[in-house]
């Protein structure tokens, strides 16, 4: 059997599965060399087995595929519609996209999703940040700059997918998270000491207690194989980096995982395994899941993260909810003296002296001020005063927000 491209040289390796055709890739999972046709078969079959073994879907369910137009979700949409046909899953599949409102990035990738809608015959629903929250990412970045913008985007996207899924009345959302993504998230959660997320992030189904669970059919699928599959099948996907600065910390974890994979590809599955088998000490305090008082979304705090961030945007305090222990959910009102002991400004003054200078006597007992250290603003929380400070601390203190409660 001849391939449409010429063999590299005589004696080229044959596929270890069929022993007939020329091998086209080395599988990272097994290190087997395999031809294109056998690769398609085994790639699809493994995903089918994952779906069966983990009971990801039930006959008659409506399933939304979270579709960004990128490689993972494009391959997921293709493979799921294929498997649904081949194995009679009996699923109603939909494409669900989130429009963050990023000109030159999301508008282009949405065009890809619209083509996928026609190519795969799957109905498409697009929900936008603008409609849901009243802000596009372009507008948010204009207000807050390029720091922390990924926090807004990530928090908003998570909820947007849920809201879109509710509009579609689906039973479940399937996302394209692959093995590399999950290994990366395990590492990140370890690096951040985020035990609650560490124990959740390897679950193939999450949110089963909530209204719309999510599942990850590609949990054990290597990114390399997804990209190879898309390339060989000539699937139409979009691949440009977001125009707003990429998440640098995640980038390091990603690069580290890729370096490990080159030396020992199994490392990816082993990291996932480690994440799954982690036992959390019974003495570890876990956040309690409740619902947001404002919008009813799941939250371990009084307000969910999206509502806190939105409140900040709408009140002109965009740093609200960024960083640890500050913001609306926190009672961490620090009095001036306590702060003054630990921090000094660029002018060498203690923080409380500096703050005192800026307030310049306009504070009264009971006032609460919010100092936004990056860049240089101070806001009176329950008032109209917004004092812009141009000479705020240059030393980049660890917290970007300090709440100051005037106690005397």
């Amino acid at each position: 059997m001849e391939d449409d491209t010429k063999p590299k040289k005589p004696g080229t390796r044959l596929c270890c599965a069929c022993n007939q055709r020329r091998a086209a890739l080395k599988r990272p999972k097994t290190l087997e060399q395999i031809c294109r046709e056998c690769f398609y078969a085994v790639f699809e079959e493994e995903i089918h087995q994952v779906i069966l073994e983990n009971k990801l879907f039930k006959p008659g369910e409506r399933i939304a595929i979270g579709a960004s137009g990128g490689k993972d979700s494009t391959v997921l949409a293709y493979v799921l519609s294929e498997l649904n046909r081949r194995h009679n899953y009996g699923l109603d599949l939909f494409l669900l996209s989130v429009d963050e409102g990023i000109t030159g990035y999301r508008d282009d990738s949405l065009e890809t999703v619209k083509r996928n809608e026609l190519q795969y015959g799957l109905p498409l629903k697009i929900v936008s940040y603008k409609d849901l929250y009243g802000w596009t990412m372009d507008e948010i970045v204009k207000m807050i700059g390029l720091k922390n913008n990924c926090t807004f985007c990530g928090v908003f996207r998570r909820q947007a997918l849920d809201r879109g899924a509710a509009l579609l009345k689906v039973d479940k959302v399937a996302t394209g998270h692959n093995a590399d993504d999950i290994a990366e998230t395990v590492l990140l959660n370890i690096l951040r000491g985020d035990i609650a997320r560490l124990s959740r992030c390897t679950s193939i189904i999450t949110g089963e207690d909530g209204p719309i669970p999510r599942c990850k059919p590609f949990k054990y699928t290597y990114e390399k194989e997804i990209v190879m599959y898309a390339y060989f099948k000539k699937l139409d996907y979009f691949s440009t980096e977001c125009i707003y600065s990429p998440n640098a910390y995640r980038g390091f974890a990603r690069e580290f995982i890729k370096d490990l994979e080159r030396i020992r590809p199994r490392a990816i599955l082993d990291i996932i395994k480690s994440g799954e088998d982690f036992r959390i000490a019974t003495s570890t305090k876990m956040p309690e899941q409740g619902t947001c008082e404002r919008c009813g979304y799941i939250s371990s705090q009084k307000w969910c993260k999206a509502c806190v961030l939105l409140e900040g945007l709408n009140r002109g305090l965009p740093k609200l909810g960024i960083g640890r222990n500050q913001g609306l959910n926190s009672d961490a009102k620090e009095d001036i003296k306590k702060d003054g002991r630990t921090k000094r400004s660029s002018s060498g003054l203690a923080l409380h002296q500096e703050i005192g200078m800026w307030l310049n006597g306009r504070e009264t007992k009971g006032d609460v001020f919010l100092f936004d250290i990056h860049p240089t603003k101070v806001f009176q929380i329950e008032g109209i005063t917004q004092i812009v400070l141009n000479t705020w601390l240059m030393g980049h203190p660890p917290k970007s927000i300090v709440l100051v409660h005037i106690v005397s």
């Binding site: 391939d3 491209t5 010429k6 063999p7 590299k8 040289k9 080229t12 390796r13 020329r22 091998a23 086209a24 890739l25 080395k26 060399q33 960004s68 990128g70 490689k71 993972d72 979700s73 394209g176 998270h177 692959n178 590399d180 993504d181 990114e223 390399k224 997804i226 990209v227 190879m228 390339y231 060989f232 691949s239 440009t240 980096e241 977001c242 990603r254 690069e255 890729k258 370096d259 994979e261 080159r262």
Partner: protein, 99 residues
Amino acid sequence: MHLTLEFGGGLELLCESVKVHNVNVDMPKGADKLTMKDLLAWVRTNLIKERPEMFIKGESVRPGVLVLVNDCDWELSGQLDTTLEEKDVVVFISTLHGG
């Protein structure tokens, strides 16, 4: 030696958004063959216009960049030691962009 080079998965952005390059690459002085190692050095010098660290790490491609020679994974042909021949097609695809 005439080769066709293709850049995908976002790597095309590093070479002025051109995906397919038909190029003529000379063998290194004194050598009787052209290897992938030689080609990467050539690409780095002649085609990559920005952010070379997105493409190259050390003397190989950055981990996460897939390489196919005539539609065959270069991990099967010896990676950097793969010998290239006239009219070969080499494809570089980044897996590092969002999904």
